[in-house]
Symmetry: C2
Subunit: 134 residues, 2 copies
């Protein structure tokens, strides 16, 4: 898969799966909405009711900044399968200009956020590696 | 989400996302087909052409057996979102009765495997924790 296709598929996907690692070296994975600017992926912890465990990704990134995020297509015709995965260093934003810009970007991509704005924090993933399959 | 709903949603999902951790404590996530028997999830490295990186989950599990697997539903109506996640200890099966049984189970769930049988190895995830949202 060429670079332009990888970027286009990442930009336009509506949901991704983000994996992080806990301080005890256990994996964690969540589905998430996200937006991309340049080589950074932004995702917000939104305002919907969640258990405290929903913040596991934030706790994990504070302990270990390694993160990976995958967008993929499943189809019963397995010749149509694809995925794009980015490996990244994660940062947790609790406020400031980048935080506000991320919320604006997320609101522009998802009209759902215009009714129910995410409260944050925002996770910022600085991409260092792109992979695509096939 | 009650236990019966969690199990039913895991059993019937066609694709899951499996996360593991590398020896260097970096997260890895892949979409995968899978089948469940009792409290074990089985997934095979299939016969489709893959780069050597496709085996990262196997390398990771040999170094760190912690694994997590998530099935989820995305919908533009965010009141319909749900996910089920299991945390597990992973084992890599290269052959034997459990390996053969896993391939049979996968073949029964996915007719695609009847045309293109997975070569293995098989990843077995022994579930120790279930979570569901909402």
């Amino acid at each position: 898969m060429d670079d332009m296709t990888m970027r286009s598929r990442l930009m336009t996907a509506r949901v991704a799966h983000m994996a992080t690692v806990s301080g005890a070296n256990r994996p964690h994975v969540v589905p998430c909405c996200f937006a991309v600017r340049g080589d950074t992926v932004y995702s917000a912890v939104d305002g919907k009711p969640k258990s405290t465990r929903a913040l596991q990704r934030v706790t994990n990134l504070r302990a270990n900044p390694s993160a990976t995020l995958l967008v993929d297509h499943y189809d019963e015709d397995w010749t149509l399968l694809w995925w794009v995965r980015i490996d990244a260093n994660g940062r947790v934003l609790d406020g400031g200009a980048e935080f506000e810009n991320a919320l604006t970007l997320l609101g522009a991509k998802y009209e759902q956020y215009q009714r129910d704005a995410p409260a944050g924090p925002v996770v910022a993933l600085d991409i260092h590696t792109w992979r695509g399959w096939p």
